[in-house]
């Protein structure tokens, strides 16, 4: 059986796609899964930095596509999580260096050796987005609880709905600040759901530990955000977990039923 292929995308830049890819991959590995994550953000590689493997990169995705190395040679293993493989992006090339078909071919080659393949996409809805989404069996849309990020997410969901075949999409709301919601200064997860109407797979709190872990190149699954990533990993694996790790319990009562909703 092959791997489940999941693409992380957002429309708007800087909302946390790379953070989600890195931490979700680590969380899946901590749950005994074999995971390969692919950095499809060619020209702006980042995933290797957050995962702390930047010094051990020999080849990258474009090298594989252009036949300068075997796929095996481009894979870098994470030090802390040996079951986590990273396929870095090229920094000195741009998105047109690879096509959606080539992306699908690479994922097919990886598939027999892993349980999950997680793909990080670039911001926007151009070629790089299409590369990242082409092999997806499921798409995770990352957004922040802020209007412009939600609008961009909406546009991306519209594009996915028009795609054939149409991959199922679930939503991650990242950087939720409980105090701001209490003060009424931030969209609540309910507001976001009301605007997008797609199933939610998880809410990640704003957490300094994310930045610290990113700088150290080691995902911190013990942090508050880390806990949220583990919950998302388990939901991805098919477990039904009600939304109890929400930042302000009580506020999201209506949301619990969303998890039972269509996927």
């Amino acid at each position: 059986m092959g791997a489940k292929v999941v693409t992380v995308t957002s429309g708007k830049g800087g909302v946390g796609k790379t953070t989600v890819t890195a931490n979700l991959s680590a969380a899946l590995v901590s749950l005994e899964k074999r995971v390969a994550c692919i950095d499809a953000d060619i020209g702006l590689r980042n995933l290797d930095l957050i995962l702390g493997v930047e010094n051990r990169i020999k080849y990258h995705l474009v090298d594989v596509v252009e036949g300068r190395c075997k796929l095996q040679d481009a894979i870098v293993k994470h030090k802390q999580f040996p079951n986590l493989s990273i396929i870095p992006a090229a920094q000195d090339r741009d998105k047109s260096a690879i096509s959606p078909t080539q992306m699908v071919a690479i994922v097919n080659d990886l598939s027999p050796h892993y349980d999950y393949i997680i793909i990080d996409s670039p911001a926007g809805i151009e070629r790089g987005f299409r590369n990242a989404v082409a092999p997806a069996q499921e798409v995770l849309i990352v957004t922040n609880p802020e209007v412009s990020a939600v609008r961009d997410a909406d546009r991306v969901i519209g594009l996915l709905e028009a795609a054939n075949p149409r991959p199922p999409a679930r939503l991650i709301i990242n950087r939720v600040k409980a105090e701001m919601i209490k003060r009424g200064d931030m969209l609540t997860p309910d507001d976001v759901f009301d605007m997008l109407s797609i199933p939610l797979i998880g809410i990640i709190p704003e957490d300094e530990a994310v930045l610290v872990a990113g700088n150290r190149g080691m995902p911190d699954l013990g942090s508050r955000a880390g806990h949220a990533f583990k919950t998302i990993a388990r939901r991805l694996m098919g477990e039904e977990i009600p939304l109890k790790d929400a930042p302000t319990p009580g506020l999201f009562r209506r949301l619990t039923r969303l998890f039972g909703g269509r996927t």
Binding site: R151, D154, R155, I157, N164, L196, S197
Partner: protein, 227 residues
């Protein structure tokens, strides 16, 4: 739009508008009549993407260019020219235009509306319209789903949204002041009926309820809709 003039027809398709020109008659005169029709209904056509079907008529490059330029002046984009004439196809390709209605999704779309049908023609959108989607149609438009912020409907007739309406809607865009807009939750970014325009009152915590907007005594009002 049932033409008073059967040398051309304009209708809404998924990709925008389709202008079908008769293969006969003089090009200059015919295109001038199309432009005159467009000028009568500027609000409806502004910002539209137009595909042109000229049948077997051979259209020379300079003819195509000048028509395209005249459309551009009216903020209308010509994106495709369909023809069985080799000359026309070459001119179109030269101008960087598509020569078929095939979109990236690979579908050939033409929601044909027969004029023998009872009542006015309608378009049914069986899906939520998300940010970036535009529907432009000369008859009535029904959406089974939401119309999100950033989506836009421009209809010659009325607009019914069986869902939340948050985007921009222009009903009666060809001048019909009896057109109406209704939705299960009527909170459009902007709502226009014929020449009238309004925005939703800022009231975040209001309870959604079905409402209908129509023109009364020279302005748009919204009242409770009991379907």
């Amino acid at each position: 739009m049932v033409s008073r003039d059967d040398s051309f027809a304009i209708k809404g398709i998924r990709e925008g508008l389709l202008v079908t020109l008769s293969a006969e008659g003089e090009w200059e005169a015919l295109t001038a009549r199309v432009l005159a029709r467009i000028d009568e209904k500027q609000a409806f056509f502004k910002g539209a993407r137009v595909a042109l079907d000229v049948g077997e008529r051979p259209v020379l490059p300079h003819e195509m260019d000048s028509f395209r330029l005249l459309l551009n002046k009216r903020e209308i984009t010509l994106w495709a020219v369909i023809s069985s004439s080799h000359t026309t196809q070459t001119s179109a390709r030269h101008a960087g235009l598509e020569t078929a209605l095939v979109t990236s999704q690979g579908g050939l779309e033409s929601p044909e509306v027969s004029s023998e049908m009872q009542g006015a023609p309608g378009l049914f959108v069986n899906q939520t319209m998300r940010n970036g989607r535009t529907v432009r149609y000369e008859g009535h438009v029904t959406v089974f789903g939401d119309v999100n912020a950033g989506a836009q409907i421009i209809a010659g007739g009325s607009v019914i949204v069986w869902g939340k309406l948050r985007g921009i809607v222009h009903a009666g865009a060809l001048g019909d002041e009896t057109a109406f807009v209704c939705a299960l939750d009527l909170a459009p970014t902007q709502l226009r009926i014929a020449g009238y325009i309004t925005v939703s009152p800022e009231d975040k915590r209001r309870k959604p309820r079905p409402e209908i907007a129509l023109v009364r005594n020279g302005r748009i009002i919204a009242e409770s809709w009991n379907p």
